[in-house]
């Protein structure tokens, strides 16, 4: 049976035997970095294509269908075009911050990749405060966005960046509270412990209605944090041309665009890990035979399947709902999501103490 765990251990053993102690570790670090960059590039191409196809089918269109079969090379062609374009820096811009901002956004997205478990025992860094780390680093991206908006010397960019900051500061709260619900139930911040606690059923099934409410709030907060419609006030192409990346072109724009899709992937991967069991196959209590059949599907496929399902859900939101106004956005967070998730957290704490879950 295919397993990423075996592949990694074979490579690691081979490197250890040929290169020796310090060098094997350095080569492994470089390989991990390269793998992460490759994953980002592939994810960017795949998700943009998926977004365009999903959008088209929801709007009764066909979407890209000329470059290659079913248009699968459309995004590659677009990337080639972007690489060849000039990366213009405006005259009045703060040149250093302007050129640094896209990399800040990308680096913030890359950092969150570390504790995500892609398959069974296939994780870059199983840090003991995994969930806290994710929550902390995911809010660093807003610094890159603020930098881009401020240094562009453009009022649309500045308004977009300010909106983005207000939005992320608000929605981090309810995202954090809904993650906390599962931390309480599983009793650990470590990602691998959270996944292992779902071996007899995913939390969304075991946790009854309170966890479902937490899941819905988490999905809403992830949509808001990644600045996607219906919460795309930071870009709002009909009001602010393109918000914080109005002045960017060529590859620098491509980095922002890529970071958006990477953030969606990471947000959905976290959601899949915490609520849907990550790489854990679909298990029901103690039905041994059923659980055994489910184990035959490789764990990496389970993880990718759940993540893609959540990404599809977020795309579905984007192509269905109209954009909110700024006041509606903050109303939704402070008057609805935050009080509901606080009460929900209390209920879940009670559940965890009394053991009212499966």
């Amino acid at each position: 049976m295919f397993s990423l765990e075996k592949l990694v251990s074979i490579i690691q053993a081979w490197l250890q035997s040929t290169l020796g102690d310090p060098w094997a570790f350095i080569v492994v670090c470089i390989l991990v970095g390269l793998a992460a960059i490759t994953l980002f590039a592939i994810l960017g191409l795949m998700l943009v294509y998926m977004e365009r196809k999903v959008a088209a089918h929801m709007q009764i269109r066909l979407g890209p269908n000329r470059v290659g079969p079913m248009g699968i090379f459309q995004t590659t062609a677009d990337t080639l075009k972007l690489v060849m374009k000039e990366g213009l820096t405006p005259d009045g811009a703060d040149k250093f911050l302007f050129n640094l901002a896209p990399f800040m956004v990308m680096i913030a997205a890359m950092l969150i990749l570390a504790p995500i478990a892609f398959a069974k025992n296939f994780q870059i860094w199983d840090i003991s405060i995994g969930v806290l780390y994710v929550a902390a680093v995911s809010s660093v991206a807003v610094i890159g966005i603020l930098m881009a908006g401020w240094s562009s010397n453009n009022k649309y960019s500045l308004i977009g960046a300010m909106r983005s900051a207000a939005q992320i500061v608000s929605y981090e709260l309810s995202a954090g509270l809904s993650i906390l619900a599962i931390v309480i139930l599983s009793g650990s911040l470590r990602i691998s412990d959270i996944i292992n606690s779902q071996a007899d059923g995913w939390w969304i099934i075991k946790g009854h209605i309170p966890v479902i409410i937490a899941f819905i709030i988490f999905i809403i907060a992830v949509t808001a944090e990644t600045n996607r419609a219906p919460f795309d006030l930071a870009e709002a192409e009909s009001e602010l041309t393109a918000g914080f990346h109005t002045e960017y072109s060529g590859m620098k724009f491509a980095l922002f665009f890529l970071a958006e899709y990477i953030n969606i992937f990471i947000g959905c991967a976290i959601g899949a890990t915490i609520f849907l069991g990550g790489w854990m196959p679909f298990h029901i209590g103690n039905w041994e035979a059923f659980n055994h059949i489910m184990d035959f599907i490789p764990s990496s496929l389970w993880f990718i399947g759940k993540t893609v399902f959540l990404i599809f859900l977020i795309m579905w939101f984007r192509w269905t709902f109209p954009r909110l106004r700024v006041d509606q956005l903050l109303n939704l967070e402070w008057k609805y999501l935050l009080p509901i998730s606080m009460v929900n957290l209390l209920v879940i704490t009670l559940m965890a103490i009394m053991g009212w879950y499966l």
């Binding site: 009764i60 066909l62 579905w316």
Partner: protein, 156 residues
């Protein structure tokens, strides 16, 4: 009372969002609903009222219905139509005004349909033909009446 209102708002919001998602989900899963027409491969299905080009229909004996009243020329907002008239002498020896050339400049036409609406004798109509690209701009200046054509009997 306040809590009741609060949860009613939450419920209404969620149910309206689900209604929207059900429609887009229906479109996503039902590919037969797709309305895109892949143009160069398949000829597009156009509505009858689609405005592609002004033409002047002629019958089998090369007769049209244009009296040369220049109502269309006056109605045209950007000088697309130019009518040159001549005086014809008919069988009874009377002078009668008739068109010599009906010049139609397709490159200026905005397909506003005002000429067709203003025509008292329904001499010109819009067709669906929209493939007008040519390599020379002069080819877009068209003469709508056929050579040697004359006005239909009974059209005044």
């Amino acid at each position: 009372m306040f809590l009741k209102e609060y949860f009613k708002t939450v419920y209404q919001t969620l149910s309206s969002l689900v209604t929207g998602m059900r429609l887009t989900g229906y479109y996503f899963t039902h590919t037969k609903e797709i309305i895109t027409q892949q143009y160069p491969e398949t000829k597009p299905v156009l509505a009858d009222r689609f405005r592609g080009e002004v033409i002047m229909p002629h019958n089998e004996s090369n007769e049209h219905r244009c009296t040369g009243c220049t109502a269309c020329e006056l109605a045209c907002p950007n000088g697309t139509i130019k009518i040159v008239t001549k005086n014809e002498i008919n069988a009874e020896g009377k002078k009668k005004k008739a068109i010599d050339t009906f010049v139609y400049r397709l490159e200026l036409c905005t397909m506003c349909n005002l000429c067709i609406q203003s025509c008292p004798s329904d001499a010109i109509i819009m067709t669906n033909d929209f493939e007008h690209s040519v390599y020379d701009r002069r080819l877009l200046t068209k003469v709508l009446n056929n050579p040697g054509s004359k006005i239909m009997e009974g059209v005044e």
